[in-house]
Amino acid sequence: MTVKFIPSWSWDINKTEDKLAQLASEGFLLTGFKKSGKFIFEKGKKEDLKFRIVKEKNYNGKVPKRFTENGWEKCAECKNHYIIKNPDKKNSVAPSYKQWVSYYRKVQAISFMIFCMALGFILGMITVFKENQPSNTVLIIILSIMILLILTTLFIAHNSNKKILSYNTNSVDFDFTIPKENFIYSKKDEKIMLKSKQMIKKSSLFWISAPDKAEKMVEKMAQEGWKFYRFDKLGTEFYFIKSKPCKLRFVVDFQDEISDEYISITKEMGWKLHFASVTKVEGYCIWSKEYTDNDNVPELYSDYNTMSDFFKRRFYKMTIPSVLAVIIYINLIILLLTDGEMTPPKITLCIISFIVIIEYGIFSVKSIIGYLKMKKRTKDL
């Protein structure tokens, strides 16, 4: 029996699978593993094998029949993970990497959130405590190390995710937030088209607070002969090109996770993807679909339950965070105004907080009105 420790096994699942295959070719056959990274091998004959590490929430100790029928054999398991091997390297049926992609995305999102919070905290510390007290220096060093660690996690999760996504041939190639295939014209051509009024652009910073209004605007533009072309990378500029008037359905869809599966199903049904938010966890996608007078207006949601879930997601993800931001900044202003004399940094902070409150306030009111309107629309379905 040989024990090998691979503590970072879950950080790059493809690399670990290749490592297991390499060890099998050297005669080390996997017989057990622990989530801590302990892999147990038996020395035997050299074998040419393909491995898959499966993450399965509902794992009940049994490998699904379709895999065993296709030559896969379980060699190790630990809680909700199991490892299977197959001597047929060309075998086409294999467990999906879906759960791993989802896991890496969550790690990325959580690390990013903690990173932003830690960064904000450090900046706050530097601004508020100008005198470098020793305890603060220690705190800043600890937080800097924390940020470094989180950045490393972010980088590794991003890298692993990229590798797994490249395995999936159906995944979309993004230029930040826009599918690369959406850039039909070069930047130079776009400039010429904008000058000659063959293309126009409209800007709106906070349109996402009332998505239904933006949807209607784009649909109206299409009917007037201005077909939606693309967004800018931040999703605040709408580009339209002169075309024949057409009927277009334009939808902003909020998802708990923007997975390849979601994108691929929606694309298969004839929708065109225009935008996917940077954070693929708790993010949103923008879709459009052309239709004719003979067709019903295409919708992403065809029954009451899923349509109602869709509106709820829109409301919770847009309104609640902005209302919370307003409450936090109001508290901050009260704290600054009641805490001793007003110094220039305090006054600056007050002004910034006031601007943020107004912006988020408008955003909150707009999205609440938008939600109520949409709720009415669901009732009409």
Binding site: F67, P95, S96, E261, L300, S302, D303
Partner: protein, 110 residues
């Protein structure tokens, strides 16, 4: 209460959409295949939206009613699990019971 009983309580009665999606997965299919099958079976009375299909599949996957795997084109394929089959059978029995009750009462409505 066993796990199956809990799931039956949670999922029954099913919406028409959920029922047809689970029924379609008696044969492994990909996303668009589900929509096509349901459209053909109901003579296009039910035209499933992509968000509806994805949302329903995600919920079913969480409860272990369906399973996913990659095919030779590395496309995600969905298939009903043994648990899913139990839920589907329970729903079919419920619909049969409703149907027989309707038949027995239909005469009275005339």
């Amino acid at each position: 209460m066993s796990n199956i009983e809990k799931l039956i309580k949670k999922h029954l009665p099913m919406t028409e959409t959920a029922f047809y999606i689970l029924l379609s997965l008696n044969t492994p299919r990909h996303g668009y295949g589900i929509t096509k099958f349901v459209g053909e079976l109901t003579e296009n009375r039910i035209k499933l939206g992509s968000g509806t299909v994805y949302g329903t599949l995600t919920k079913m996957q969480k409860d272990g009613l369906i399973d996913v795997y990659d095919d030779s084109d590395k496309k995600i394929i969905y298939e009903i699990t043994d648990t899913g089959r139990e839920i589907l059978k329970a729903e079919i029995n419920r619909i049969k019971l409703v149907y027989s009750n309707i038949i027995s009462q239909e005469e009275m409505l005339k």
